[in-house]
Each structure stands twice: as C-alpha cells, then as structure tokens.
C-alpha cells in the first residue's frame, strides 16, 4: 500500500516539473520514525567506548590471552567458536571500512 502511495506521488510529480522539492518532504516523514529506531539502537550499540571502559577492555583481552595459554579456549563448543568467529570477522571488517573512508572511495585508490 505504501508503494501505491509513492507511485501516486511520483506520477503527480511527473506532471509538475517545477515543484521538485516536494518529493523530499514525504521521504522525510517516511524515514523519521525509522531514523528514530536507528538512533534508539545506535545510542547503545554503536557508541564508542567511554574512558572508563578502556581498562575493562584491556583486562578482557588479557583474560582471553590467559585462557588461550591455559588451554581453556580449547574447551569452547563448536557453536561458541562459530559465534566468536563471526564476531571477530565483523570486528576485522571495520578496518576495511576505515580504509575506504581514509582513501576516499569504495573500490581502489583514486590516484
């Protein structure tokens, strides 16, 4: 039904060549609640670590290393190992996203 409304909008817009800016207002009203849900999750999940959390992170990494040395990590189940592998992959991919930002393009260096 939403598609039909946008189709109607588009068809009306075709006949009016001057009022092109009106198309954005309906897009804004459509995306505002979605933006709200995005912010609702991003405020908790995507926020950078506060200065208090960085020592915790270092302690956590030391914990992992200790577990690796003691052999405790060999006891993880396949399910847990798979889940941890997925999380590690996602964390590593942020490096490539940063690289894309740094080089100013998605594919290749624009030299």
């Amino acid at each position: 039904m939403l598609f039909q409304f946008f189709l109607l909008r588009w068809q009306c817009g075709k006949e009016e060549t001057e009022g092109a800016s009106k198309g954005f207002s309906s897009a804004a009203t459509y995306s505002k609640p979605r933006l709200a849900t995005f912010w609702h999750y991003a405020k908790v999940e995507l926020v950078p670590p506060s200065p208090a959390e960085i020592p915790q992170a270092i302690a956590g990494i030391k914990n992992i290393l200790a577990g690796f040395n003691s052999g405790r990590l060999g006891q993880t189940t396949v399910k847990d190992a798979f889940r941890n592998g997925m999380v590690c992959t996602e964390v590593l991919m942020w490096f490539y996203i940063g690289e894309c930002i740094g080089k100013g393009g998605i594919v290749g260096y624009a030299v």
């Binding site: 999940e45 992170a57 940063g98 080089k103 260096y109």
Partner: protein, 121 residues
C-alpha cells in the same frame, strides 16, 4: 483504527486528484506516509514488543571495533599519500614514452609509404 484513517485519507486523495489541487494532494500524501510510517515503526511496535531491546556490547568488542576503524582510516590515508605521487610520476613517464613511441611510428609509417611501389597514389 489506523486502517480506517488510511481509508479516509485515501478517499480524500482520490477526490483531490479529480480537482487537480496539487499542493493539497502532496500534503495528503505526506500525511498518509506519516501514518503508515508510524504504523510501521515507533511506539506501537515497541509496545507490542516485536523489537528487541538494544544489546549492551562488551567493552572488548567496542574498543576493538573503533580502534580498527581508526587504524583503517589512518592506513587508508597513509597509503593514499604514498601512492599518489608515484601514480603521477608513472603517468608523466608514460606520457613521455608514448610521445617518443608515436614519433617513431610516424617515421616508420612515412618510410613504408615512401618505399612502396604502387602507382595507385
């Protein structure tokens, strides 16, 4: 309840199409979009608990993500600055070589044309 309002506004929009009042029609469509978007998102979904509460991410993962992001930005910038002068140099060298090559080709072609024995010139 929402469906009834949408039905009303859609009837109104159809009536407005006939009268060809464009600005009113745009306003009605904005209203429909807003109604549908509030239907689809925002509070009712949270009350019906279809959306999960946000996950509290562990500090290890948070620092790892952001540090990789920053390292990646830094690396991308460094690599770009390293590659840019080299690419320009290579382009310059390529231009010069291409010019020399074209000169030689022109000379070779002129020689070939001069030495062929045809009367069809």
């Amino acid at each position: 309840m929402f469906l009834h309002e949408m039905y009303e506004t859609s009837l109104l929009s159809l009536a407005l199409i006939k009268t060809k009042k464009r600005t009113d029609l745009f306003r009605i469509i904005d209203l429909i979009c807003y109604q549908h978007s509030t239907l689809a998102c925002a509070l009712p979904q949270f009350y019906n608990s279809n959306m999960v509460p946000p996950v509290v991410v562990s500090p290890v993962i948070k620092t790892a993500r952001w540090s990789f992001l920053l390292i990646g930005i830094f690396y991308g910038k460094q690599r770009y600055d390293y590659l840019k002068p080299r690419a320009e140099e290579e382009r310059r060298v390529e231009e010069a070589e291409k010019k020399i090559r074209e000169e030689q080709e022109k000379i070779a072609k002129a020689l070939v044309e001069a030495s062929e024995d045809t009367i069809l010139k």
